[in-house]
Symmetry: C2
DNA sequence: CACGTCCTGGAAAACTCTTTCCCAGGGTAG
DNA sequence: CTACCCTGGGAAAGAGTTTTCCAGGACGTG
C-alpha cells in the first residue's frame, strides 16, 4: 500500500495459502477452492489492497483485456458518435479501450495495428471507409489476418469486403431512398458533392443516388458531380467550385453530413438561401446536425448503435467461422433544408 | 510468421548471439553493441518479422507505453477536440492511448484509474471539471497519489486544485471579458445558464461574469440565473424554464457552448429571434459552433492545443517536484448571436 | 612486462502471474 | 478390505522481456 506494489504472492503468504490457490480464488478458474480458503484469500487481498498486474496476466494468459478502436479523426462527430457506442459496450464488459487515430494514413493504421498486436489486444474495431485501392486493401487484409492468427478478433464498421465481421450501412439503398424523396419534392436537376472518388462509402452513396435517378428517368450532368475531401472544408471548397463554374441544379446532395455542413456555410457566404435558392441534403445524421439552420435533410444512421453492434460482434467469442455482415438501413429524415424547387 | 509469435530468443538464435545482446540491439539500451552484431540482429529481426511482446516488456521494465485519457463523454465536441490534441502528442512519441469515459461518475473514474494502474500506464490525463464536492475531490486526490507512487505521471485539464500538473482556462477572466463586451453593446439585464451549481468550471465562469457586471454597477437578478445539466439538453431545458417563468433580460449567457446551442434551439422552438429578441453568448468555441445560425458569440479556448499541452506536461519526465499550472487565456469572439439590445 | 581499466558479450536472475502436474486424503465400489 | 477415483492443495514450470553480474580480451600506463 505504501510505495510499491502488492503482489499475489504477498496475498497468498498473508492468507497462509499457496500462490496457486490465491490465483484460483482471485480470478476464479475452473478449479474449486474450499469456501474457507476462499474467504481467507479475498479478505487478505482486500486488506492489502491487492491490484493484479495486468501485464503479468497478459503474459501468462497470452491475451489481454485491451480492445482497439481505429478511427480516422476522433474530433469528427461521425467517429466520436460511433466511439461512444463502442465504449458503452467495452466498459460493460470491463475491457479497456485503446484509441488509435489514423488520419486516413495507411502507414499509421499499420503502426497502430502492430501496437495492438504487440499488446495482445483481444479485439480491434476498424471504423470508417478505406480506399478502393486494391493494394492497400490487400495489405490491410493481411494485417487483419496476422491479428487474427494471434488470437485477436476483428470487426469493421462501414468497410465491407474485408475478412472480418462487419457492420455496414446500406449506403446504396439509403441514397436511393433519399433520391426518390427529393424527386418526389419535384427536383429534376441535381448536383452532388461526391467526396473522394476512391472511397468506397462515397462511391456507394453516389451510385445509389445515381441509380435511383436513372430509374426515374433523370439524367445526371457530369459537370454537377464534384469530387473533393470527405470533410467540412472539402464540402465548402467543392461547393464554391461548383458555384463558380455555375450550375442549373435545384438540389445539392452531399454524400455525408460534414460535407453538407460545409456546403451550407459556402452557400451562406455566397448569399444563397437554403432551401429557397437551392435545397441541400446530406447523409449520416450526425448529432450536430439538428442545430443547423435550416436543419438538414439527411439519411439517418444509428451511429452509436452501430458502434455498439460492432463491439458486440468483435467480442462475441462464441462465434467462429464465416464473417457476419450486419447491414444497417438508413432512414430518410426530411427537415427544412429541402423544399420543392421554386419555378425557374 | 506463421501462426505463432516470433520471440526475441528466436531472433537471438537466428543471429547467433545471446538473448541479452539481442535485447540490447532491439531496444537500444545504454550498453554498446558492436556494429557487426548489431547488423546481424536487426537483419534477423527483420527477416523473422519480430514484434516485441509489449506485456513482457512492461513486466520487465515495470512501465508500459500506455497513456490514459479520461473524459466525461467522447461524443461531446469539447472533449473530442481535446482528445484530438492529446492523440497528436502521444502518437508522436509512439505511445498508445487508452480512452476512458466516465459519464461524470466518480465510481467509473475510479475503475478506469485502477485499470490504468494495473497496466502500469505511463501517464494519465484527466479532462473536464469535477465537482466542488470536497469528499469526492479528496478521493480523486488519493487515487492520483496512488497512481503517481507507482511511477505514473498525471496531468489535468480544467480542474485546478488537484495534486497534478494542470492546464486551466482562465474562466473568470474570460467570462469577465465577455461580460464587459456585452455591456459595451448596451446590455444591462442578463440571464445566465449557469450549469450545475457544484461544478467548478461552471462556477468560475458564473463568478467571473457576475464580478464584471458588479464592477460595472449592474446587478444580476437571482431569478435570471438558471442551474441545470452541463449539456445541450440541459441548456434547452433551462432556457424553456427561464422563458416559462418570464425574464426581462436582453442577453443570455450560457457558461458553455453546448448549453448555448441548446438554448438557441429552445429559443427557435419558442419563435424567438436571436439576436433580435435576445442576444446569446457561450463559452469554449467548440468547432461545431461556426455552423450555427446565427453564429455564436463565445469565448474562444484553444481546445486542441490544451489537450496537446496537457499531454506534454504529463509526458515531460524531466520535471519533478511542484505542480505546474498552465493558464490558458480565453479570447472573446464576437459573432452574430449578439447585438445591441433593441429599445424596450 | 605486469597490472588496472574499459569494453563487449553471455549467463542467469528477476518481473508477476497462470496452469499443469503431482500428491495426499477421503469416499465408494467391488 | 483393497483398489480406484475424485477432490482440493501445493510445487514448479512456463510466458518473453530487461538487467545485473561476471568473464575475458584489448588497451594504456608505469
Amino acid at each position: 500500500m505504501d510505495s510499491g506494489y502488492v503482489t499475489l504472492e504477498q496475498v497468498a503468504e498473508h492468507a497462509g495459502v499457496s500462490l496457486a490457490t490465491a490465483s484460483r480464488v482471485i480470478n476464479g478458474s475452473t478449479r474449486q477452492v474450499s469456501q474457507r480458503l476462499r474467504d481467507r484469500v479475498t479478505a487478505s487481498a482486500q486488506q492489502l489492497g491487492y491490484l493484479a498486474n495486468a501485464s503479468a496476466q497478459t503474459l501468462a494468459r497470452n491475451s489481454s483485456s485491451l480492445v482497439g478502436l481505429l478511427v480516422h479523426d476522433i474530433s469528427d462527430p461521425y467517429f466520436s458518435s460511433i466511439a461512444a457506442g463502442v465504449t458503452r459496450c467495452t466498459e460493460e464488459q470491463g475491457l479497456v479501450l485503446v484509441l488509435g487515430t489514423t488520419g486516413r494514413s495507411v502507414q499509421k493504421e499499420g503502426r497502430v495495428l502492430a501496437a495492438l498486436r504487440s499488446h495482445r489486444a483481444k479485439a480491434v474495431i476498424l471504423v470508417g471507409s478505406r480506399s478502393t485501392d486494391e493494394e492497400s486493401n490487400a495489405r490491410l487484409a493481411r494485417e487483419i489476418e496476422a491479428f487474427r492468427r494471434q488470437g485477436g478478433r476483428v470487426a469493421c464498421v462501414s468497410q465491407p469486403g474485408l475478412p472480418a465481421d462487419t457492420v455496414s450501412p446500406d449506403n446504396a439503398s439509403g441514397a436511393a431512398a433519399l433520391a426518390r424523396h427529393l424527386v418526389g419534392l419535384g427536383h429534376r436537376r441535381f448536383a452532388i458533392l461526391a467526396g473522394p472518388s476512391d472511397l468506397r462509402t462515397a462511391r456507394e452513396r453516389l451510385d445509389g443516388f445515381h441509380g435511383a435517378l436513372s430509374a426515374a428517368g433523370i439524367a445526371l450532368d457530369h459537370n454537377n458531380v464534384m469530387h473533393g475531401a470527405f470533410t467540412r472544408d472539402g464540402g465548402y471548397e467543392s461547393t464554391r467550385r461548383l458555384m463558380t463554374l455555375g450550375t442549373d441544379a435545384t438540389c445539392l446532395f452531399a454524400v455525408n453530413d460534414v460535407m453538407a455542413t460545409g456546403a451550407m456555410a459556402a452557400l451562406r457566404d455566397l448569399g444563397m438561401k437554403v432551401p429557397g435558392d437551392l435545397s441541400v441534403a446530406g447523409f449520416d445524421d450526425i448529432p450536430t446536425l439538428r442545430d443547423l439552420t435550416p436543419a438538414l435533410t439527411t439519411v439517418r444512421l444509428p451511429l452509436e448503435e452501430m458502434g455498439e453492434k460492432a463491439a458486440e460482434l468483435a467480442l462475441d467469442v462464441d462465434h467462429e467461422g464465416d464473417f457476419r455482415v450486419v447491414t444497417v438501413p438508413g432512414e430518410v429524415v426530411a427537415r427544412e433544408s429541402t423544399a420543392p424547387p421554386t419555378a425557374p
